[in-house]
């Protein structure tokens, strides 16, 4: 019964969080946004004490049910492990393993140190929700968008107006590669050893393990009834039951309840068993996962070194003047979303879960390829600009890196400043009149001034009134100079609210 409830809830949470990450329409966030906000690391980053306290209480009461129900990466591993168990001769494939203390706590210490030091790349690599976020956004979202585009095509064929096509583009090659490696590793580990990742690596799991050791309700064995058939051991994905040593390692137990159903003697029950603390122990571990983990870390480090990103070039047909695709300029300071309080704070709080990247309807947000903030989002305006009516990223961010902004407030934020590169501006290179940036600026922050200050009749070139500019990128996106725009936005270290 417990197992069934666990599975139902797990499926609901998994489907909910994954749908959130896949939902490019923004329609689900009103309903399911809380599912992202109760993820552990985002709640910590958002300093959401109520959620943290609730999760801690949940764990102290019932054990690591978070890992079996709320964490999407955990549920994914359970699904893989379940498939693996359906193979012939693999139905009872687990054996008790010793807790790999040095690894668990080593990773945990490094993780906390990275968190404190602000080395978010490391944090994002290991945090389970971030890992799942990048897997979904980089690998599954394009497929969903492709399907959406098929529907859009159908919609167009039958002449109705229901489905917007969504551009599928490579937002960041490093992020994609990291996501692919993460997915392969987690899948292989789960296929071979069940919850290896959660036992030995996952820092969130280790954190909750501190509490679950003392959980009030827990599976416990009534040795008077136990016939030592070891069926429970062999069903335990966390490899934390050791009947011979009469020990269950509750710091690793994720309360999946698979063991309960396996016990035919009625010796194993989920019951109130506080203060009967049981420490870890057991037999010789088989050692799976360790090599894989090392390979994973090394692989990721190699990936991190590669920073080639290129958006797909688009072909145009004959009847029109060819248009070269825009290329991203080099920005001294990255532009971070409206609602983030500044570059430093944003990148310290962001868990790189990709929820905002998935939600951005204007193709502005993408995972960064810069090593110092790898996979964390940044803004760029080759495909669109940060439109005034959209505040979606600020609504979805679970970690408080982007605080909610209203449409009215948005145009008062100053996240970056445009700068004109006279060498690229067509007014100067081609000697034609333009002024598109000035006309399209939603803040009226661009003034057209004579190229020759002594001749008021000469052509006019744009000049940015820095105090009025907010950094939305309309000018950069709509600049006719290609592939590099003649007016580009540079981020502000500290975002200010204008009055």
């Amino acid at each position: 019964m417990f197992r069934k409830i666990r599975i139902i809830l797990a499926v609901l949470f998994f489907a909910g969080v994954t749908s959130l990450l896949l939902d490019f329409t923004g329609a689900l966030h009103g309903w399911l946004g809380w599912m992202a906000k109760i993820q552990f690391l985002p709640a910590v980053m958002a300093a959401n004490f109520v959620t943290i306290a609730a999760l801690c209480l949940l764990t102290i009461l019932f054990g690591r049910v978070y890992c079996s129900v709320i964490c999407p990466l955990g549920v994914y591993q359970d699904a893989v492990s379940w498939l693996s168990s359906r193979r012939k001769g693999k139905r009872a494939r687990f054996r008790p393993k010793k807790e790999l203390k040095w690894l668990r706590y080593g990773v945990w210490v490094l993780f906390v140190a990275a968190l404190v030091a602000g080395v978010q790349v490391f944090v994002a690599l290991l945090a389970p929700y971030s890992a799942w976020g990048r897997i979904v956004d980089s690998i599954f979202a394009p497929a969903v968008k492709g399907f959406n585009n098929l529907l859009a095509l159908l919609d167009q064929r039958i002449g109705t107006y229901n489905v917007y096509p969504r551009e599928v583009w490579l937002k960041s090659l490093p992020a994609l590669l990291v996501a692919v490696v993460t997915l392969i590793l987690v899948t292989v580990l789960a296929w071979r050893g069940g919850r290896t990742w959660c036992n030995d690596v996952c820092p969130v799991g280790t954190t909750l393990g501190f509490l679950s050791r003392f959980s009030m309700f827990r599976p416990s064995v009534d040795y008077s009834k136990c016939r030592e058939c070891l069926a429970c051991e062999r069903k335990c994905k966390a490899s934390c039951i050791d009947i011979k040593a009469a020990r269950i390692d509750y710091s690793r137990c994720v309360d999946c309840f698979d063991c309960l159903d396996s016990c035919k003697a009625g010796a194993l029950k989920y019951r109130f068993a506080w203060k009967k603390a049981v420490t870890a122990g057991g037999e010789e571990p088989s050692g799976t996962g360790d090599g894989g983990r090392r390979a994973f870390l090394i692989g990721s480090a190699i990936l991190a070194g590669e920073t080639v990103v290129r958006s797909q070039e688009k072909k145009v047909d004959g009847g029109f003047a060819a248009i070269a695709a825009k290329k991203a300029p080099k920005r001294d300071v990255p532009v971070t979303p409206f609602g983030s309080s500044g570059v430093r704070d944003f990148y310290r709080r962001c868990t790189a879960c990709q929820l905002c990247v998935a939600a951005c309807p204007n193709n502005v947000l993408r995972p960064s390829s810069d090593l110092s903030r790898l996979m964390q989002p940044e803004m760029s305006y080759e495909k669109g600009w940060c439109r005034p009516e959209c505040t979606r990223c600020s609504q979805v961010c679970p970690s408080g890196a982007i605080k909610p902004v209203s449409v009215e407030e948005k145009t008062d934020y100053h996240v970056g400043t445009a700068r004109v590169n006279r060498e690229l501006c067509i007014v100067e290179t081609d000697g034609v009149s333009c002024g598109n940036c000035a006309r399209k600026c939603p803040r009226g922050a661009i003034r057209m001034v004579p190229v020759n200050p002594d001749d008021p009749e000469s052509l006019r070139r744009p000049a940015v009134v820095e105090e009025r500019c907010i950094g939305c990128g309309a000018c950069e996106n709509l600049c006719p100079a290609r592939p590099f725009s003649a007016i580009t936005v540079n981020g502000r270290e500290e975002h200010i609210i204008k009055d």
Partner: protein
């Protein structure tokens, strides 16, 4: 007043002729647009040259294009031949083209299709489209090339292409200062041009100027091609173009035969807004909006020929039927058309006829595509001006989604830099950058939810 009397006499004679021929004996019962069959093509006589011209002329500016092996747009000659065969078989004998049409391919396609018929069985009208380079050499070369393209020794009708826009100054630059007028009159004397005239797009002052040239004997216009339809009749904007009733009266006064272009305003009078369509359908449930528009123009006796740029067999057949059973409008119907024109003017459409003279825009904007989508949404009633409109959200989505479908984002109006290159090319004198900006403001309002 004068021309009204003329029209009355004309109506009377038309009725008499119809009774004699028995062609108009069909009443409402047989009024289905596909029920009557082609009938016999209405013709008009050019009292200057004596040419017997079909009232429906073939405009060769909108022929179908296909992609050739290398991906280039080329005219679908097979279809063109088929349509010309049908047109010739049903009495259409006036073919209007230009060296500039369809990326320069229209004349050759017309030449291929028409040269399969005896030369005297059709009239060719082509133009001196020397917009780009008005030098004497380039202009004369353009003129001479047209003979080869059209496979002919002479032109029945030759036009100074689209004068009036730049006023007197542009006219003199293109035709006078370079000696082209003298050259053309010499060609006319040599018999290689049978009728010399001009096509007009411009304001009243420049038209008056061209008429004064005729009056004072500087030049003699054998015919004149004007934009005429029930909207432009008395509702031209006055700044950039002239009411067609004025042009018509001035030309009739001088006995100059009139060829009509844009009788359907580039198709906009064939696809009219819902309330206009309902009014017209109430009266004639089986007649199309185009039927009314063509009949309006044909009801004026000074009109020699009405050009229609028929892209496919379907409008061709429909138009052949309209002009095969041609029935001029009575005064009541003319008044109705005026009423429709007033309704039409209430819609904020762009006066674009999709002639594509403005293309390609150097910055890649799909100008006609944007205007077409915008006009279509106005016509279809998907244009919203108020968020309290029923189905507002649905209509908003239809406009924005339809916009993205019709025009790729990087070719949309927000990318127009207002360089103005297109302005001098537009025969409708549409302030293109301004109109694009207007449409973009509408799009922005929709996107920002400020409507």
């Amino acid at each position: 007043m004068e021309d009204k009397i003329t029209r009355r006499a004309f109506l009377k004679s038309a009725a008499a002729g119809a009774v004699a021929a028995g062609a108009l004996s069909c009443g409402r019962a047989a009024a289905g647009s596909s029920g009557e069959g082609p009938g016999e093509m209405e013709t008009r006589v050019n009292h200057v040259s004596g040419d017997k011209v079909s009232l429906l002329g073939y405009g060769c500016m909108r022929w179908p294009m296909i992609k050739d092996a290398s991906g280039k747009d080329v005219i679908d000659q097979e279809k063109v031949n088929g349509m010309v065969d049908y047109a010739m078989a049903h009495g259409i004998n006036y073919y209007d083209t230009s060296p500039a049409y369809l990326q320069g391919q229209s004349e050759r396609a017309a030449g291929i299709a028409l040269s399969r018929y005896p030369r005297e069985s059709y009239y060719i009208a082509t133009k001196l489209s020397n917009f780009g380079n008005p030098s004497p050499e380039a202009s004369i070369k353009m003129y001479r090339d047209s003979f080869g393209e059209l496979r002919t020794e002479y032109f029945d009708y030759y036009l100074l292409h689209a004068i009036g826009g730049g006023g007197r100054e542009a006219f003199e630059r293109r035709y006078v200062n370079n000696g082209i007028m003298e050259f053309l009159y010499a060609e006319k004397a040599a018999g290689r041009i049978r009728n010399l005239g001009f096509s007009f797009h411009g304001n009243k002052d420049s038209f008056d100027y061209f008429m004064s040239l005729h009056d004072n004997g500087t030049y003699h216009w054998d015919f004149c091609q004007i934009e005429m339809n029930y909207v432009d009749w008395t509702h031209a904007d006055g700044k950039r173009n002239v009411n067609a009733d004025y042009l018509y009266a001035e030309l009739v006064k001088r006995n100059i035969p009139i060829v009509v272009m844009e009788p359907l305003l580039g198709g906009r009078l064939a696809n009219v807004p819902a309330n206009i369509a309902t009014r017209l359908k109430t009266l004639e449930p089986d007649r199309s909006a185009a039927w009314w528009a063509f009949r309006f123009v044909g009801s004026w006796p000074g009109v020699l020929c009405i050009l229609s740029g028929m892209t496919s067999m379907d409008p061709l057949k429909e138009n052949v039927e309209t002009f095969g059973h041609f029935k001029p409008m009575d005064d009541k119907e003319l008044a109705l058309m005026e009423e429709m024109a007033v309704l039409m003017k209430e819609y904020p459409m762009v006066n674009c006829t999709s002639c594509k003279y403005c293309m390609p825009c150097p910055y890649g904007i799909d100008i006609p595509g944007i205007f077409h989508h915008y006009n279509r949404s106005v016509t279809d009633g998907t244009f919203v001006t108020d968020s309290s409109t029923e189905n507002y959200r649905k209509l908003r989505r239809a406009f924005l989604l339809g916009y993205d479908r019709a025009v790729p984002p990087e070719r949309q109006a927000d990318h127009c830099i207002s360089c103005g290159t297109c302005l001098s090319h537009c025969p409708q004198s549409i302030p293109i950058p301004g109109e694009l900006a207007r449409i973009n403001r509408y799009v922005e309002k929709l996107k920002q939810g400020k409507i």
